[in-house]
């Protein structure tokens, strides 16, 4: 973990009509860590992610990724930043008219036009297998896959360009516990081999305990606290206490704790 944040958000404000989602929100994500973002429904976790990746224009605030201001970046800089991150949307967001293999190749084709089709096929296949899918899923269309497989295919596509930063929006939601645990392991494994930094939105307490280096808690329109789970538990905020010390939180905590 280095001291220089890879993502830095300062004074972010987001609103939809009259309802303010974020107000004066600050957040740092450091290189090489898995940051879990938690918060109740409607606290704007996804909106925060969309703001960072530039899909949602904030009302105010500064967002810096890889040392570049997202809102002030030129088109060329923007493209360069996009090449260095991967995003996994909640339902995979696979292109429905393309096979899984073509989905993974889509970003590669867009950025590297000189690659041969054979090499593209090989790259797509090992990315798909690395994401934990069987190789025979490659020629299938997204509609032929189950929810869990679609997430893995989405992950394969988000890893297509060898990103250094990975955004995951509720990757384990809707998966069975075994599938979710396998997905957690996969993310840790990929983080270690590929040296990823991961921005992870989740509701899954098991995931938080198992893989997150730090957790940021969203409430009252801002990040009210961030740190390891132990550090958060030491705080006296009612929502944090209820979240981690509620029946589900206790069940998910490691037994030694």
């Amino acid at each position: 973990m280095s001291d220089e944040p890879i993502i830095s958000v300062r004074g972010l404000r987001n609103s939809f009509g009259d309802s303010v989602v974020h107000e004066n929100l600050d957040l740092d994500v450091y290189e090489g860590e898995i940051l879990g973002v938690v918060g109740g429904s409607g606290t704007g976790k996804s909106v925060l992610m969309r703001s960072i990746i530039g899909l949602q224009e904030p009302d105010a605030g500064e967002i810096t990724v890889f040392g570049e201001r997202i809102d002030q970046a030129t088109a060329a800089q923007n493209l360069d930043i996009r090449r260095r991150w991967g995003v996994l949307f909640q339902n995979g967001a696979l292109f429905s008219t393309l096979t899984v293999s073509e989905n993974v190749q889509a970003p590669l084709r867009e950025f590297y036009r000189n690659l041969d089709q054979d090499l593209l096929d090989e790259i797509a296949t090992f990315k798909i297998v690395m994401s934990g899918l069987p190789a025979d899923a490659a020629p299938k269309y997204p509609s032929e896959l189950s929810g869990g497989m679609r997430k893995r295919a989405g992950l394969a596509r988000s890893l297509a360009l060898d990103p250094v930063l990975l955004f995951l929006d509720e990757p384990t939601a809707g998966l069975d516990p075994i599938g979710a645990a396998a997905f957690d392991e996969l993310i840790v494994e990929l983080k270690q081999t590929l040296g990823l930094t991961v921005f992870l939105i989740t509701h899954d307490l098991d995931t938080l305990h198992a893989i997150c280096d730090r957790v940021a808690v969203l409430a009252d329109r801002k990040v009210i606290a961030s740190g390891t789970i132990e550090e958060l538990l030491a705080l006296d905020h009612p929502w944090i206490q209820e979240y981690f010390n509620g029946p589900r939180g206790r069940a998910a905590a490691p037994k030694a704790a």
């Binding site: 090449r83 429905s96 096979t99 293999s101 073509e102 190749q105 590669l108 950025f111 590297y112 000189n114 690659l115 041969d116 090499l119 096929d121 090989e122 790259i123 797509a124 296949t125 090992f126 990315k127 798909i128 297998v129 690395m130 190789a135 025979d136 899923a137 490659a138 020629p139 299938k140 269309y141 509609s143 890893l159 360009l161 060898d162 270690q192 081999t193 590929l194 040296g195």
Partner: protein, 369 residues
């Protein structure tokens, strides 16, 4: 120093060594993959000590050297070794596209599928019609089950809300017919027959037909999309489990609305077209409105009006039925909603025009010409 990936072939004592340099990353690969494909002598070793960055694609190329030529990879950093190991675990064969049969059998398959689809769609429509009749019978037997609110709401969205667009369209069509008629008939000095043209074609055919096409595009598609997305969200299943019959609650009000609104809209469209045609006659042919109306009453038989008004509810019924039917056919994913909505409009317009042809033959054979 260039960051581009490159390699040189070294002729060692007995061993052939490839020395890589630069960045072995996707962006910097250049022609390296192609050159690696064309190696004439198998290298026994690949030295990557001078490579300053590597990603999974670079690791994959090295893994392939190892796999295809048995080349030993030396001099790599921990990260490089880990990446190579990782991609070598993931080395499997896979196709990019699903397997396809040859063109001949593919064509046969397509024709077969299309035929079966058309037949099953026709059968489905008949079954759906039957279910609708049963639902209507149930409502007639138990009038308290009739959903007035839903019906009135549909009246509004099918009828009142489309007054603007239907009126404007008909008005413009009236102008177009009058203008074309005036130009063509003037050549024979028969401008006055423009009024016959406007009156008869509007009341008999165009007003109702154009309104039907507009309603198919506006309401038929909306029905398919609404019911389709409700089906996807399992709302229809929820209604069934609660004990609300979807036929009575969703389909009947919509079909009733299109069936009853079409004659009203068709009449309104005819009036607007006559007004448009009348204004053009006044402007271009100097026929004043009183003369226009007088002449219209003389040349347009009452049966023309009946022809239009008899067709209108039938067209409305077809539009409502196909819209709701296609909506109910939605299954699986969001893409289906789009497909079925398109199918609803295409099918409705097609059926309306086919029926219109039948009506034309029928009315002329009973002497309403």
């Amino acid at each position: 120093m260039s960051f581009d990936a490159d390699f040189t072939e070294d002729e060692g004592d007995e061993k052939r060594v490839l020395r890589f340099s630069g960045r072995l990353t996707t962006a910097r690969l250049g022609d390296v993959p192609r050159r690696l494909e064309r190696l004439d002598v198998s290298p026994s070793r690949a030295d990557i000590a001078d490579v300053d960055r590597i990603d999974t694609v670079g690791a994959w190329l090295l893994h392939k050297l190892n796999r295809d030529h048995g080349a030993e990879i030396v001099g790599g950093s921990d990260k490089a070794d880990r990446l190579i190991k990782q991609v070598s675990i993931a080395d499997e064969k896979a196709r990019r596209l699903p397997e396809e049969s040859n063109l001949f059998s593919l064509t046969l398959q397509r024709i077969g599928h299309a035929t079966l689809d058309a037949l099953s769609s026709l059968k489905g429509l008949l079954i759906f019609f039957g279910a609708l009749v049963i639902a209507a019978g149930g409502v007639i037997a138990h009038p308290r089950r009739f959903r007035y609110n839903a019906v009135v709401q549909q009246f509004e969205s099918v009828g009142v809300a489309s007054l603007g667009i239907v009126g404007l369209m008909s008005f413009l069509i009236g102008i177009v017919i009058a203008q074309q008629g005036a130009v063509q008939l003037r050549q024979f000095g028969a401008e006055v027959f423009t009024i016959n043209l406007i009156g008869r074609i509007t009341l008999r055919e165009l007003a109702v037909l154009m309104t039907a096409i507009m309603i198919a595009g506006r309401s038929g598609s909306a029905f398919a999309a609404q019911i389709g997305s409700m089906k996807l969200a399992e709302e229809i299943d929820a209604m069934r489990t609660i004990g609300i019959p979807p036929m009575g609650a969703l389909v009947l009000p919509r079909v009733l609305a299109t069936t009853l609104m079409m004659p009203l809209l068709g009449f309104y469209a005819a009036v607007m077209a006559l007004v448009g045609g009348g204004l053009l006659c006044w402007y271009a042919l100097d026929i004043p409105p009183p003369t226009y109306i007088q002449r219209m009453r003389e040349v347009v038989p009452m049966t023309d009006f009946y022809v239009g008004m008899i067709k209108a509810p039938v067209f409305g019924f077809i539009i409502g039925l196909t819209g709701c039917f296609q909506g109910m056919q939605v299954e699986g994913n969001n893409e289906e909603v789009g497909l079925k909505t398109t199918a609803a409009v295409v099918q409705a317009i097609f059926l309306v025009i086919v029926l219109d042809a039948f009506f034309a033959v029928f009315f002329s054979s009973i002497g309403w010409v």
